[in-house]
């Protein structure tokens, strides 16, 4: 009981300021109250309208729409609704904004009938698609954002694929996974020899060499990213050195920044310590007598390594790989700075939707999918390594 009381303050704090925010993100990825709140009468009236047919809604619906809009314009909510619907159908935002002034002058009780007046105000009100979009997105809990997140859209005919030129997110997810795999792979390749060396050298020497691993680990992420930006530029240190050495001609400097190569190089460097540390701690526990025994019984170097040493080091590889993979699929800063447009990850897209396009629902849906992937990987990590065995430094 006393134990729980000691834990309680922190648990409450974490629940309040971390778990609830995450939960609110999950909620936001399906929440869609804005249409039915702003246009309650219209939504009700549209209930009876057949979206699959080729008939425009009748006068009653137009009248309900005008009544809703007059209230919404009064409360300045119509532009927000416009931008919400614009995520689904381009042009809706400007239609709502432009027609706002004219609609405001209408008096719902006296100025009817409205159908022709509205179509006069903006052609969009005479198109089937407008009403279909409003009807499709009038539900309070929507799967629309998730469909958008996997390059589909919610229409009156159910879920269909986005047009070809708008399909970028699935590609981006695949790229994120693929590049994270490459980064994990190159981290394994580079970390294995280093960890082996550190684990086999005498303690005094390996502690000294460990500084070379820990120094980058402790250095600010921004410092390392800026170092890579400086090194990878066209006029940067790497290109200058290569040109000076004559390996590359001055006119054919390598393009290693603002593309996938830049992201992979920089992130491999940044995540390498996260691979070395778990590998090293596993390799340290492999008794040297096993390999000696194998050799004394006539195994060659390669056989000894492949049949005796390597299998025992696999837990280290597994732990490091999952750690690096989890970290890299959620990376934002480094791809943003050295990745240009071709080397960015899904997280950059999330940030874009939060700060630039303001399509927060889609950002939340993308975040939820990413969180799902990470949790699955984390569960695997817990099975293989155990949370309690996370070590720092």
């Amino acid at each position: 009981m006393r134990a729980l009381m000691l834990i309680a303050p922190l648990l409450v704090f974490v629940l309040l300021s971390f778990v609830i925010p995450i939960a609110s993100m999950l909620f936001r990825s399906v929440e869609n109250g804005i249409v039915s709140e702003t246009l309650p009468l219209t939504v009700e009236a549209l209930d009876g309208w057949d979206a699959d047919g080729d008939q425009l809604p009748d006068e009653a619906i137009y009248e309900a729409f005008v009544r809703d809009m007059v209230v919404a314009i009064e409360a300045k909510k119509h532009t927000r609704l416009g931008s919400r619907l614009n995520y689904e159908e381009t042009g809706m935002s400007s239609m709502f904004r432009k027609s706002g002034r004219a609609l405001k002058k209408l008096n719902p009780d006296t100025d009817g009938p409205f159908k022709d007046q509205l179509i006069d105000i903006h052609d969009g009100f005479g198109e089937l698609q407008t009403w279909r979009v409003i009807k499709t997105h009038s539900v309070e809990v929507t799967n629309g954002y998730f469909l958008n997140a996997i390059d589909m859209q919610r229409t009156h005919e159910g879920a269909v694929s986005q047009p070809e030129d708008k399909q970028i997110l699935v590609k981006l997810f695949i790229r994120t996974m693929f590049m994270s795999l490459i980064i994990t792979g190159s981290c394994i390749l580079l970390a294995y020899p280093i960890s082996y060396l550190l684990a086999t050298l005498p303690m005094r020497v390996s502690n000294l060499l460990m500084i070379l691993v820990l120094l980058p680990f402790w250095t600010s992420l921004l410092v390392r990213t800026s170092a890579w930006k400086v090194m990878l530029q066209q006029q940067g240190v790497i290109n200058d050195t290569l040109v000076w050495l004559g390996l590359v001609s001055d006119s054919a400097r390598l393009i290693i920044i603002n593309n996938q190569i830049g992201t992979i190089i920089a992130m491999t460097h940044i995540l390498l310590p996260f691979m070395i540390l778990p590998m090293y701690s596993v390799m340290q526990t492999i008794p040297v007598t096993y390999t000696r025994a194998a050799k004394s019984m006539g195994a060659t170097n390669w056989t000894t390594f492949w049949r005796i040493y390597f299998p025992q080091s696999i837990p280290g590889i597994g732990a490091g790989s999952i750690l690096v993979f989890i970290l890299s699929i959620g990376y934002y800063i480094t791809p943003e700075i050295v990745g240009g447009t071709k080397g960015v990850f899904i997280s950059n897209r999330i940030a874009y939707h939060i700060s630039s396009s303001l399509n927060w629902g889609l950002a939340a849906a993308l975040g939820t999918i990413l969180l799902g992937v990470v949790l699955i990987l984390y569960w695997a990590y817990d099975k293989i390594v155990g949370i309690d065995n996370v070590k720092l430094g």
Binding site: A3, I7, F18, L215, S220, L222, V223, G330, L392
Partner: protein, 403 residues
């Protein structure tokens, strides 16, 4: 083991080709910078083999050979490449003098097991070279930043003056800019306000919870642990997204309904967000310290009439202090280094150092960033040393390793 292996002189037929290969590699760099790689390689190979055979067959004195080689090659470098060339020449001369005799006297076998075959010996050293290359990859970005921050020009590359080691090419102007520029100073101050407060919150709550978690019967221990560690596992971009939605609502409530100062609310939001991010590190380090904690000490204290609070502060706290401090350092560096969450949660008046660097890197890239980077590297070296010393002290206190 080292003394077991007898060493003997190697025949010239082994030494000369090996030295020639090393000479060719060195010659490749020299040749490349002067126009012809092939010529450089050939020249380097022939020159080094000739020098080696002269030393071994005619001079027959290692001391003399070493000094002749170092000084001669240093002079050559100085004549052709100025001061930097001289320094490189001295280093190359030292290396080749060492390498020639290392090969010739068979010293490379001295520390290896006597029964190793030639191929095993070769792989042993090839492996070392590969590892050296990887270590270079790890450390180069940091080493490149340091000299570049003293660049007198606004370039991100080494200028000819810098390569000549000309004092004209170096200056402290980027450091002066950092210390005089208002933007940088304000962001630095913000970092120094936000990180310590966030650290205090996460350390105090985290230590209490870690002590609670380390008691024997805690219902749902795994679940609680999972929740408490989750800020470390969830990718920052997702935490940032969630917090962005949540804290903007909270902020509106605090400002609008309670009428608090906008600036103050901004700081509160950022500090709370950073405190949460630091908590897992405190929990992990402190629980790790508590694993080796001897329970009979607290029982003994209680036995002698100390209350739980007294026991905690005079018995438990001093023993787990190293763990608490290093957890605190982790929490501090997490907050001090954090940019994703603050980018989403904070507003311009809470701009921290990493944020300023991030905008600098994305928009108007200025070399002041490198000066800041250097300061931060020095800072992280200091932190690394502290953590290591604390770790050793903690192990000694708990009797895990001999002093």
């Amino acid at each position: 083991m080292a003394a077991l292996t007898p060493i003997s002189r190697k025949p010239l037929s082994l030494v000369l080709p090996t030295v020639a290969v090393a000479g060719a590699v060195a010659g490749m760099f020299v040749g490349a910078s002067n126009g012809s790689v092939v010529l450089g390689m050939l020249g380097g190979a022939i020159a080094m083999a000739a020098v080696a055979s002269v030393y071994i067959t005619i001079l027959k004195n290692e001391q003399y050979a070493r000094w002749i080689n170092i000084i001669g090659s240093g002079l050559l470098g100085f004549l052709f490449g100025g001061l930097l060339g001289g320094i490189l020449g001295l280093l190359a001369g030292w290396f080749f003098a060492f390498f020639i005799y290392w090969m010739y006297e068979g010293r490379y076998r001295r520390k290896l097991l006597p029964y190793m075959t030639a191929r095993q010996v070769f792989w042993h050293y090839a492996f070392r070279v590969i590892c050296g290359a990887i270590f270079t990859f790890l450390i180069t970005p940091i080493l490149v930043v340091l000299p570049l921050s003293f660049n007198a020009q606004d370039f991100f590359t080494f200028t000819p003056e810098m390569l000549r080691l000309d004092p004209e090419g170096y200056s402290l102007k980027h450091y002066r800019d950092f210390f005089s520029n208002n933007e940088w100073q304000r962001s630095f101050k913000n970092s120094l306000i936000i990180a310590p407060i966030a650290t205090v919150i996460s350390v105090s709550l985290g230590t209490l919870a870690a002590i609670g978690l380390s008691q024997s019967h805690v219902p749902g221990r795994r679940l609680i642990m999972g929740v408490l560690i989750s800020p470390m596992i969830v990718p920052l971009i997702i935490s940032a997204t969630g917090m962005f939605f949540f804290y903007s609502d909270i902020g509106r409530f605090l400002e609008g309904t309670l009428g608090m100062n906008k600036n103050f609310v901004g700081y509160v939001k950022v500090v709370l967000a950073h405190a949460v991010l630091g908590i897992p590190f405190v929990i992990i380090t402190v629980t790790a310290t508590l694993v080796g904690f001897d329970r009979s000490l607290t029982r003994a204290a209680a036995n002698m009439g100390a209350g739980p609070v007294k026991t905690f502060f005079s018995i438990q706290m001093p023993l787990i202090l190293p763990g608490v401090i290093s957890g605190g350092l982790f929490a501090f560096i997490t907050s001090f280094d954090e940019v994703v969450v603050i980018l989403f949660v904070g507003s311009a008046s809470q701009k921290t150092l990493p944020w300023q660097m991030f905008t600098g890197l994305r928009e108007q890239i200025s070399p002041t960033i490198l000066a800041v980077a250097t300061i931060l590297v020095v800072f992280s070296i200091a932190l690394l040393t502290t953590v290591e010393l604390l770790r050793r002290r903690s192990e000694r206190l708990r009797g895990l390793s001999p002093a």
